[in-house]
Amino acid sequence: MRVMFILKKELTDIVRDRRTVIISVIVPLLLFPMVFFTMRGMTGSGDTTESFRISIRVQGQLREILLNDPKVSLAEVDDVKQGIREGSIDAAVKEGHDKKTGVRLLYDNIDRRSIDAASHVAALLKSMNSNAGQIHVEMMPMHPVKKAGGWLFLSTLVPVFLFIFCCACPLPIAADISAGEKERKSLEPLLSTGTSRTVIILGKLEAVTIAGFVSVTAFCTGLLISYLLSPSVFTESSMDFSVSLWSIAIILMIALILTMIFSAIEIAAGVFARSSREAQLMGMPILVICMTAVYMAGAVSLKTMPAYYPHVPLVNIALALRTCAMDIPRMDIVIPAIIWGVVYGGILSFLAVFLFHREWAVYRT
């Protein structure tokens, strides 16, 4: 009976807290439609060419059938391997060793668009089997299958986990170190000292970034140990996960910048929030935005993505992580991502400092 009494009081308390209702109900209601609207717009602009650019080096009926397919457009290059590598074509159809019945399908097995193109052409050729006799399609991936599987797996896993860790790990620390000061009533003594508010908040930001990064590193190490102990937990078959030290160093640098970005926004939220609980609640939409950025970076082909992608907040960082996880750190993506990351971190740190100087934010009632 007393439990129900307490439950009723707590529920009343929560429902009467307008901000909690806004953050936990209104924001998710609006956020997801906005996120999907944005995603649809960006994905649409990223892959406007419906058809796959295929280099067709077969003659006769096969060539005619492929050219008649609305999703196939003819694209000729001198060197098909280089064309596929550079993204000027998605795949190439060549004559097989047995010229009468076979074709070879060359594609990049670490590029989503190239894989899709190869799948489409293979399906098309197989559907012809009944009309034109048996056609043997020899799939020719450009990278060793085991290695490509590992790279694709890592390029999906690394951005997802790093974004989750870099966002979630500093959250409770940031909430405690900022909004927690209000709860403990230690904020006013702190603000009455000779140290400026800017210094105080930057000190806190540093502490959260370091603690958050340590936590991120611990999570990643734990994940790696788990994989080494039991690879089958992650994949059905063991994959080749060779990533160079250079790529790992870039990943760690990006993780540090990402942790700084999230620490700054979480500290800013903590300064504005009245309690740790409210501060942590404010962190939830940030996680949704992160996952959206990771999804958008994963859905696009690195070869055909629009030129502005390396400048889209968070998406660029996810893209940079993707290239590093595939051990092909692309500096045209990594450098803008790092520069923009530092800029976002700076802007958000400034926001935290700005709020910490504002009476209406610090003494919110």
């Binding site: 403990r184 006013e188 003594p189 009455s192 000779g194 140290t195």
Partner: protein, 253 residues
């Protein structure tokens, strides 16, 4: 207390200080003017909501005045807030705001560092404060295990560690037993005798009449009486009677 103009470098001068919070229709502090001189304790007296804490918050640069000015040791609270903070020691009423997971020593030394006190000076001053406030037994214990008295003494030591010229004390002995209260009042007296400027905000009229040289009685955000204690109680049998009269409570025979 006198309303004469202060020298540039001593005490507190407040002129027309007002504060109206956003969304509120009334002034929390309304056109307050007073002067506090070094070597004197000024009692800021008033019932709940009279404006005592808001006044102390403005003087300690926590919040900005809506209008008026306050100068502490020659520094304007708005224009030179960082200088003001280095000059003052503030004890906020009712709550000590200590870090539970730090020891009393760590709490105090943290604030010494924040106030720019060197490690050696802080260590020396801490030893003096530990003896003065009788904190030897628990100085190296975590604050999370402290009684109210221990917490309050630690908070006072934290307020005094950087040897501030001005002390702003809000209910320094709230919730304490007689022994602890006595130690704290003795410490305040000690600092008055050293020439510090002290503002003591309190509900306890008895304490105010025993400790303070001057009194400001606040009511509804404004000052209804102020001056030396003997001036304020002129015509009344005690400071308590004067307080009751000025704040609208009538004394019945």
């Amino acid at each position: 207390m006198s309303n004469t103009v202060l020298t540039e470098t001593a005490g507190i001068a407040v002129k027309g200080l007002s504060k109206k919070f956003k969304g509120s229709v009334v002034y929390a502090v309304d056109n307050l003017s007073f002067v506090c001189r070094p070597g004197e304790i000024t009692g800021l007296l008033g019932e709940n909501g009279a404006g005592k804490t808001t006044t102390l918050r403005m003087l300690s640069t926590m919040i900005k005045p809506t209008s008026g000015s306050a100068v502490i040791c020659g520094y304007d609270v708005e224009k030179h807030s960082s200088h003001v903070r280095r000059t003052i020691g503030v004890l906020f009423g009712g709550v000590t705001g200590l870090y539970d997971r730090l020891t009393a020593r760590e709490n105090i030394l943290y604030f010494a560092g924040l106030n720019g006190v060197s490690v050696e000076t802080a260590a020396t001053r801490l030893e003096e404060l530990v003896i003065m406030l009788d904190m030897t037994e628990y100085i190296d214990r975590r604050a999370g295990t402290f009684s109210t008295g221990m917490l309050q003494k630690t908070a006072i030591a934290r307020t005094l560690i950087h040897d501030p010229r001005v002390l702003l004390l809000d209910e320094p002995a709230a919730g304490l037993d007689m022994g602890s209260s006595r130690i704290i009042y003795d410490a305040i007296n000690h600092y008055r005798n050293q020439g510090k400027t002290v503002i003591l905000s309190s509900h306890d009229i008895g304490v105010a009449s025993a400790l303070c040289d001057n009194a400001i009685i606040l009511h509804g955000g404004g000052s209804v009486a102020q001056g030396a204690i003997n001036e304020v109680i002129k015509g009344f049998s005690s400071l308590e009677d004067a307080f009751m009269e000025y704040t609208g409570y009538r004394i019945h025979d």
